[in-house]
Structure formats: C-alpha cells, structure tokens
Symmetry: C2
C-alpha cells in the first residue's frame, strides 16, 4: 500500500487510486503516526519552515505535491531523493482573471470611481482604453497562456518572454527582455521565484519601462525590488498593480499602502471559491499517474523550474 498524507479526507479528491491509503494532515503538529510509511505528501498551506525541514527527512518519502503554482518556499527543504511537483494549471483561470481585471480596472480608472462613489461624488473623467495597448507577459507558462486567451478580443498586441525562447509559439527568450520592455504599455509578471528572477524588476528594469506604463505583479513579491518600485511610483512615472508584496502580508504603515498609482490586492489572484476543487483535480490526476507508474507531471527542480 502507498501511504499518502492529504490536507482533507480522500472523498474531497473523489477518492484515491487502488493501492493508496491516506491520513489527513492539515500541516500542524503532531505529524500522523505513519511517518515511516508515508510516500506522498500533498502539502497543506501554511506549513512552517521547521515542519518542512522535518517532513523532508521522512525515510520513505518520494513525492511532495503542492496545491499551489509557486514552489519557492518549499524548494530549499526538498532532498534529492524526493520529487517536488506543483499544481500547474489549477490556478490559471483565477490568476488570469485577476490579471486582466486589474489591467482594465487600472487603465479605466476604477479605483478613482470607487473612491468617488464612497464619497457620493459624480466624478466624470475620461480614462485610457485597453484597446491599442502592447502587453508584455514576462514568464509565459500556463497562466500566461490563460491571460493571452482572455485578452484575445481586446485589440491589444501581446509580447511573450520566457526563460527559454520557444520561437514556434512566438515566445522570446529572457535575453530579449531588454529589447521588448521599453515598448510595453503593460508588463505582466508571471515568473516563478528562482535565482534568476529574484529582484528581476530592479531599478534598471523599471527605468527601461516607458513613461506611464503599468507593471502587474501576479507572481511573487520577491520578483520586484520594492524600494526601487516605490521610487518610480512616487514620481508617478509608472503605475502598478500588485497582488503580492515583499514583505507579505504587507505590514501596517508600509509605504506601499499609500504609494500613488498603485492598485494593491492581498494575494487573491488564485483565491476563488473553488480554488480547492481546482487544485484537488490536479492532485487527483497526479496520484493516478503515481499509482499507474506513469511519469509525474509538473516536476519542479532544485532551481525552481
């Protein structure tokens, strides 16, 4: 029998493949008593670094399966003998909706109108159209594709950059970023956190963005140098929409709260009412592959990709 730890009862996943038995583990202490048997852990949210260090040393562990797309918090604790997989695809729709939603909201001045509504003021003002804009997607994976599908009818042009270029799909390599960045009206960040992408958006990156451009971070706070962004926002040279911050949660009184031209949401890009169902559908398919001895999908290496 293959022992699996799940954050919820197996019924929530529509049952387990034959040959698998489960313990429910929600991420706290104590660990289930099947420490010496467990082969697969479907990782709950919010597991502390100390606990991550403990579980990664379990003697029979083969697979840590995430329900998130981001893996950066877990990677440092995964031994070479354990495979780490993310939930690629589970959060595509939600994150892409958030991304296109904040682009429209920002360009069409929704924050201004919402503030005027709160004050009971009829505050007519024209705003910018989305139509005619060039949107650059930095980190073009499954979420990037979901963003592009949602922008298909919006009369925008799309540029795509990924770690490795895929010319057949119109995706440029990261080495071309400097060539396309200055032309983008909207820059969408969807890269994972890796050694290469941490603070990718630094002062130099921001200085390359055109005046008035909109930076959209749907990835992780660590991709952006917060101080450098604050400098550009304070002069109102560029604008931003952030779902993620560094630090996160953003503490009370942090200067980002009052930065001009910023739309800030509390890491809700993937947070829709059926987030769990969507993630568990991806987990179920993975467990079926494991049980059948098929190759696992969405394997994350020690460098984060």
């Amino acid at each position: 029998m293959t022992r699996v730890w799940l954050p919820d009862p197996p019924e929530t996943l529509g049952g387990l493949p034959d040959g698998m038995v489960a313990d429910v583990w929600k991420g706290g202490e104590p660990l289930p008593q099947t420490r010496d048997e467990v082969e697969i852990i479907v990782l709950p949210f919010g597991v502390t670094p100390e606990t991550l260090a403990t579980i990664s040393r379990l003697p029979n562990l083969k697979l840590i399966q995430l329900t998130s797309a981001g893996a950066e918090r877990v990677i440092p604790y995964v031994p070479a003998s354990v495979t780490l997989c993310n939930a690629r695809g589970a959060h595509d729709a939600a994150t892409a909706e958030w991304t296109v939603g904040v682009i429209v909201a920002h360009l069409r001045s929704f924050p201004r109108f919402i503030e005027a509504q709160e004050q009971g003021r009829w505050d007519f003002a024209p705003s910018e159209s989305v139509a005619g804009k060039q949107v650059l997607i930095v980190g073009y994976g499954s979420i990037g594709g979901a963003v592009e599908r949602r922008l298909a009818g919006w009369e925008v042009t799309i540029e795509r950059v990924a770690r490795t270029g895929r010319p057949a799909e119109g995706v440029r390599g990261i080495e071309d970023l400097h060539a396309v960045l200055p032309h983008a009206d909207v820059v969408v960040l969807l890269v994972p956190v890796t050694g290469q992408t941490r603070h990718l958006v630094n002062a130099e990156f921001l200085a390359s963005m055109k005046d008035g451009a909109l930076l959209v971070n749907a990835a992780r706070g660590a991709i952006v140098d917060t101080d450098a962004l604050l400098k550009e926002l304070s002069t109102r040279r560029i604008r931003a929409a952030l779902d993620v911050t560094e630090p996160e949660p953003l503490p009370p009184g942090h200067p980002l709260w009052t930065a001009p031209g910023l739309l800030l949401t509390p890491h809700v890009g993937g947070a829709i009412t059926d987030t769990r169902e969507r993630a568990y559908a991806v987990v179920s398919a993975q467990l079926a592959r494991y049980a059948a001895g098929e190759p696992l999908q969405n394997v994350i290496g020690p460098r984060g990709y």
Copy 2:
C-alpha cells in the same frame, strides 16, 4: 455646396469631402449665420432641448449626425424630413471594456480590496470566479458583439437577446427574455431607450433574476426602475454595476450612493482619451457617403431603432 455644422474644425475629421463646407458650432448660442443653408449638423454634446427644437426647424436641414450611440434625447425633436443617425461602432471598444471590467471587478471583489488598501489593511478573502458563469446580453448590437469578443477566452457561456431574434447568429428575440433571465449569473443591459425598453428592468424583471446575480447597466439609466433596484439591493439578493442612472448625474445624498453590492461609475463607459477621434472616424465615413449619394448608415427611426 453642402453646408455642414461641426463641433470642431474640419481638420479634426481629417478634412471634408469635396463639395462640403463647414461652420464650427459647439452647441451654444448664437447659431452660425448659415441657418438657411445648413444641410447636415454633427451634433455637439450637451445641446439643450430648447436649442434642439430650434435647429430641427432649420429650413434646409437633411441630416442630424450624432457622435454618441444613444439617441433618445434627440429623437423627440427630429422632424420627419430630417434623418437622424447615431455613431454606431464608435464606442464599442470603450463600452465593452467597461462592461467586462466591472464584471471582473465585481465578482473578484476589487471594490472591497480597494477599500482595504485605502485603510492600509491586508484583507485576504476568496471571491467568485468569472469562469463558469452564464452571461446574458440584453440588447445585442455592435457593443454586444464587442463584449462577447472580449469574453471569448473567459470560460463563460453567453446568451443573447435582441428586439428581433436572429437565429442564425444565436440571438433570441425579446419574447424569449423570460425564459433565459432566471438562468443568468450576469445580466448586461445594452438596449437603446425606446418605448419598449424604458423601465424594462422593473420589479418583475429583477424578481426573475437568480439570487446573487449581477445586473450591469452600460446602456441608459431609464432602462432600470431605480426604486425597484434599490429594493433588491437593500436585501442583498442581487448585485449591480451601473454606469448610468436615473436621475443622472446622480444627486448628492441619493440612496444609490450607499446601496450595498453596487459598483457605480459616472457614465464613463464610452469615455476614453480617444473617444472624439473614434466618433469622428464614424462621422467622416458618413459624410463621405452623403457626398457620394450613397445610403446613410446607422439611421435611427422615430421609435429609437
């Protein structure tokens, strides 16, 4: 020579067809001295009813060309000898962006997060996805098509209703409204104001909407019975996003300002920085047709369609 009154110099339209001469008239008094000659008036915004009554009696007037889509303010003043045309198409992109934008903003709780940002609070909460929703477009013309194109990649289903059904395009006639309305998660109003559509959204219409459904008014305030809507909003049974109100502008202290579950913007659906350019492109094409003796487009009859 054909005399035309324009709200801006002819250069703004890229010049006039051969055989046309223009006066600039911005809608105020006095009228240009060419009253007895003018054949075409491209109507400025904000012309008063008194002035509309005057110009519609000009002896040689053949065509009133609007720069808006809505014609309801002008129709009562147009004599049978004068043709009225709207600017169909000019505001499609802007209005469709607003429409899809408020659907995403409302379902994904942007007003809540914007309020939390103003207060410096990290207020994490899951919200509803757009994916999986059924969107009903009531009034399926060129703006409806623009909305549908923008929703193409969003994993939604679309129902379309127009005054006259067009089965080949998947558009139902208004007589089917009662059959589809109870199934819609989002109801988008895009109908012109006519005798048939004034207060189309009354208590009975609202009662037919499903619990939690979102009403989006991108058309005109007169389509909705404001008191009936206020009743449904106050019980939080349905939600709404309005760009237009009755009365409009909404006066200070009006109960809509504080109605729960309402996102209210100040008639900015069509208001983007190049609204004038887009409208004048439609006007130019119409003037070219007139000069060439070709049939005019977007003719509005006395009943508003």
